[in-house]
Amino acid sequence: MVTDFLKTCCADPMKLIGEWFVILPALVLLLAAAAAVVMRNLIHAALLLTLSFIALGIVFIALGAEFVGFVQLLVYVGAVAMVIVFSILLTKPDQLTKSRNLLSGFAPAAGVAVAFTALAALLGFIFSSPLAKKPMPAPASAPVAAIGEALMGDYVIALIVLGILLTAALVGAAVIAMEDKP
């Protein structure tokens, strides 16, 4: 059947398109994230952040973690990005560009310096570690059924705690943002 035919041809997308399937979205991710960080216009920053979330989701899918990639898209693009955009709109869109920018003044420059020191240290560790030189193992996949079994089995307490946390966050956010009754 058609699906079987496609399956045999595209059973391993990594083989078909090679490593570029990971590298390209990763490049998009880094460019979009960098642009989001330096952008003066908040809405543009939020939209670029959305793009970087999409790219991150695609990287997850390309690495074989389909389920996590879809969850990433659903939660970040569908919810988090929209909540960020919504709160930008609710907090005076006409003052968008008044914000302090990167490298203007002492404190922001120090922040950027700290970030780049951290980056240098991290990269140093990464490239000196023997662990990191491992070649890529055979393609792995995480079947949805196995994830479901694990969530309802070994990790059920964490799942319930996460549920309680999310409920508390929902109620808390609603209460915090509620208009004070005069």
């Binding site: 952040l49 973690a65 990433q72 907090t91 922040g111 808390g172």
Partner: protein
């Protein structure tokens, strides 16, 4: 491709997030920076799961799922606080929220 490349990508992403969170004065930009850092951490988990000896051990995947859930809660509460602060002081700049400063 080696694990190094993925880890380096994630480190660069983390640095971008850190720079945004430390040096931008707009509270919403700080939230954006924190989200980027969380994304970098998630990428690390997935990369280590992909390169692990035993990919049927799903700990890396499950940790990312929980981390995404926590990030969603954090964004919701953080942005609610920002909206409340904006209602009180008419600004979302963190420098302006200095009522408790001695």
């Amino acid at each position: 491709m080696t694990l190094q490349i993925l880890l380096a990508i994630s480190a660069i992403l983390f640095a971008f997030g850190l720079a945004a969170a430390l040096s931008r004065s707009n509270a919403i930009m700080i939230v954006i920076g924190i989200e980027l850092m969380l994304g970098a951490a998630n990428l690390n988990f997935i990369a280590f799961w992909r390169f692990s000896e035993n990919p049927s051990d799903l700990a890396g995947i499950l940790f990312v799922i929980f981390s995404i859930g926590v990030a969603a809660a954090e964004a919701a509460v953080g942005l609610a606080i920002i909206i409340l602060v904006h209602r009180r002081i008419r600004s979302v700049e963190v420098d302006d929220a200095s009522n408790l400063k001695g």
